[in-house]
Amino acid sequence: MNAIIVSTLLGVIMMFCSWGIKSQQVQKNIALIGLFILIIANLAHMYGWYVVDYDTKGMLTYSFFGLYANTLLFALTFIYVWINGDEIAKIGNTSADFYSLFFFILCGISVLTSFDNLLMLFIGIEILSIPLYILTGADKKNMFSNEAALKYFLMGSFSTGILLLGITLIYGATGSFHLTAPVVSISTGFAQEQILLSAGLIFLFAAMNFKVSAAPFHFWTPDVYDGAPTVFTSFMATIAKAAGFIAFINVFNSQYKALGYSWTLLLTFVIIATLLVGNIIAVFQRSVKRMLAYSSIAQAGFMLFALYGKSEISNEAILLYAVVYSIATIGIFAVLVKMKENSFEAFHGLGKAQPLLAFATTVFLFSLAGIPLTGGFFAKYYMLSALLKAGAGLWLVIVAVVFAAISIYYYFKVIQAMYFTAGEPAINPLPNQYKYQLLALAILLLILGVFPNLLLNYLYF
């Protein structure tokens, strides 16, 4: 409850900030302080201290996992703002507006990590999505940004409609919005209710797939990610997406798992399609930004493995994956933002011109590719291990590793451009501080690559 209340308040405060405070730097600092307060408030909740203690009648339930996910996502937002603050200031008139939207998104995230009711799921998703539509179109003078925003908005509304339809059908079958409400078992229920429930769940599933950009509902992703201002793409592809996954897991690891075999079959199809589309199309991209858009689809395919079933480490797996993937993606987008163009050629000779930056970029790419010694390896490792423990066949793991090997191809293209091709990198001048920020991020990934427990031990308290 703390996080929801505090993030809303902070969002409102940020909204009015731009009236009194003109300095973008001060606005950024206020946002950082706000995020810090938000993290503290959420931690306070974890250890039993509430701003208000209100009985939500089962609309929201707080688990340690959800709260911890909150903390991590807030911390990631903190890192994101800390690094990208100056870049955000370059878009639009005042960055306080955007910070305000971030806080509303975080409010949506806090709902999504704790809902126990399909209505709250719907509300959470809407609170999360609407600011994202605005952020996509934030670069008002840029036609691509506008186009992307419109496309995202239309597609997003459509999928929300499907989500609502699904929820309605489920309500029709079970008579309740609660996730914990008894589900009509496929084998014993009345025929009509079975059909309602199955249809409802399929709609729900499709809508959630849309939100996390899984194939075959991914078509909006490349255009939107490509069109949106790069800083905001970074936010969308990481924190917002991770929240979507946690919500997704929350729904489908509940009672609805009773669907059993047919559900797993559907999921397997979606996972393989997502991995296939993401990885194969990414190979052929000429723009790094678009390549990263497809790679984010491919990574979503990996994260979907967490849905495969509940095992003792599936929670760890999704948290680690979300965090590590987000750190690496925030990092690589932070580099991309400074490039004059998005092509691979822009990276030529970066290794020589900016050794520190190139090193950090290499670590980010290694992590995305899942190479040992970076956090990405353990993220993938936990995911696959959870998959096996949830009872999936070895063949699915083999499929996953084959796609992981394909992903090497397009991630390493950037490394080749940086180190092995001579040239003048098309990069804007960088303040030293920025390089050290990125280096710190890279070192964080390396530490997680040897001691992932630093992140995961908290789950055992």
């Binding site: 793991v397 083999i398 590793v401």
Partner: protein, 473 residues
């Protein structure tokens, strides 16, 4: 603690090297640290080692365990000899950013040592990759003209292989009773015969690509040719042994039934590979490519010996792990000296080395004879044992593989004849005596070749415990 120093010393040196800009200081730092590693390696040869064992990832039940038995020791010795030797012999070669080059090389050494020491599945995988990644950068930055595409092929090939192994490790971990990665738990995992074959295949692909075995060898000759010679030496003298080591340490004890079921297929593949590589070697004009193909043939023979699962052949292979490393190191070094000084690797443009540089020619002949396993050289002992085992396993296979000895003599002696004898060619005429360091290294290596050829007993006793482990249990 001594075992940790095999990882600690090279890593420490690699980090220090990044800070040293002066070429000469960097070179000597690298040599001194790898020399220290060699001293430690000599130290552990005759002492039974205590395992180094600490918790690493408690949630996953993975431990940081280093264990050294005879098999580990002989490969550690080879690694520890190779690095200072390579660094000394190539000290005069030109590299831009030498300190980074050396630093990456020493990271590779740490990775290799880790592979040969790890007794925990996940740790093993970790080091397996750690050894590969610096090589990727070394070849791509400092390699020949076509380096980028070729190194990339090599990297994706091996990375895919090791990912399969990772899947295998994950699978085994799920099957063990205590859900750990310890090699002993893996050995006692409860597998049905079908599961054993699957896991066997996953591991075997990784090892087969690394060695490489026909038909997965296509990355190798190109990669050897395009890499800077110091890296080629590391790859062909030490890195390919990772695959053979993997078979001895992991494949054979973990999946005994699946192993026995596939002996014929694998031996057949190896024999095809041996003949295929030998025939191609005959047609080569480039010295580097010739050595590369000859190396494929030799590794294929060792792999075939392992899969005969006869005690005598495996004994031979264990010794040959070491001997082949030393021989091929010597051959590469001579080839490198010739290339550095004449600027060509084509045998047609060389000739008359014996008249111009007799010492170098003698060394070349020495290593060439070792390469064809002449009696009194080290590989004679190993190859003789391997062929004996292969004959017990299947005389036909032994006969086919035996042809390769003749072929080896053809291509190796042909090379010696073209390079060392005949009229002094234009290129050779400009040659100076190699530097003292390189000469000293080559002489020491040749002494090792002859010494272990005449008196191989120390190598036998070093590996006795491994052999017992594999056959008595």
């Amino acid at each position: 603690m001594m075992l940790v120093s095999f990882l600690f010393l090279p890593v420490l040196a690699a980090i220090i090297l990044l800070l040293i800009k002066n070429n000469k200081t960097a070179q000597w730092t690298a040599i001194i640290f790898s020399g220290l590693t060699l001293l430690v390696a000599l130290q552990i040869l005759n002492t039974p080692m205590v395992d180094f064992n600490i918790a690493w990832l408690p949630n996953l039940n993975s431990r940081f365990i280093l264990h050294a038995d005879g098999l580990s020791k002989i490969l550690i010795l080879l690694t520890a000899i190779s690095f200072p030797a390579i660094l000394l012999a190539t000290a005069n070669n030109e590299y831009k950013n030498r300190n980074v080059f050396l630093s990456l090389l020493l990271f590779t050494e740490a990775g290799l040592m880790g592979v040969f020491l790890a007794a925990d599945g996940l740790l093993f995988y970790f080091f397996w990759e750690l050894a590969l990644i610096p090589i990727y950068f070394l070849c791509s930055i400092w390699g020949g003209e076509k380096r980028i595409a070729i190194t990339f092929k090599f990297f994706i090939y091996t990375f895919l292989g090791s990912l399969f192994m990772l899947a295998g490790i994950l699978f085994l971990n799920a099957q063990t009773s205590d859900h750990s990665f310890l090699i002993n738990s893996f050995i006692h995992a409860n597998l049905t015969s079908g599961e054993q074959v699957t896991a066997f295949a996953l591991f075997f692909i990784a090892f087969a690509i690394k060695m490489p075995i026909f038909p997965l060898h296509t990355w190798q000759p190109d990669a050897y040719e395009q890499s800077p010679t110091a890296v080629t030496m590391v790859m062909s003298a030490v890195m390919v042994k990772m695959g053979l080591y993997g078979i001895l340490r992991w494949l054979m004890p973990l999946f005994p039934a699946a192993f026995m079921a596939h002996t014929h297929v694998v031996v057949l593949l190896s024999v095809i590979g041996i003949l295929y590589a030998s025939f191609i070697a005959i047609r080569q004009d480039d010295i580097k490519r010739l050595i590369a193909y000859s190396s494929i043939a030799h590794i294929g023979l060792m792999n075939a010996a392992l899969f005969t699962h006869t005690q005598i052949a495996i004994q031979g292979a264990l010794i040959q792990l070491f001997s082949h490393g030393i021989n091929v190191l010597g051959l590469w070094m001579v080839a490198d000296i010739i290339e550095q000084q004449t600027g060509t690797r084509s045998m047609q443009q060389l000739g008359g080395l014996a008249k111009k540089q007799p010492t170098l020619a003698i060394l070349l002949v020495g290593f060439a004879l070792a390469n064809i396993a002449l009696p009194l050289t080290n590989s004679f002992v190993g190859e003789f044992l391997m062929f004996t085992g292969l004959f017990q396993f299947n005389p036909w296979m032994a006969a086919c593989a035996g042809v390769s000895v003749v072929l080896a003599a053809i291509y190796t002696l042909n090379m010696v004849q073209k390079v060392a004898y005949g009229a002094i060619s234009e290129k050779i005429n400009t040659m100076q005596a190699p530097n003292k360091g390189a000469q000293a290294v080559l002489i020491i290596l040749l002494i090792i070749v002859l010494a272990t050829g005449v008196y191989p007993q120390p190598l036998f006793s070093l590996t006795a415990d491994t052999l017992q482990e594999l056959f008595v249990k």
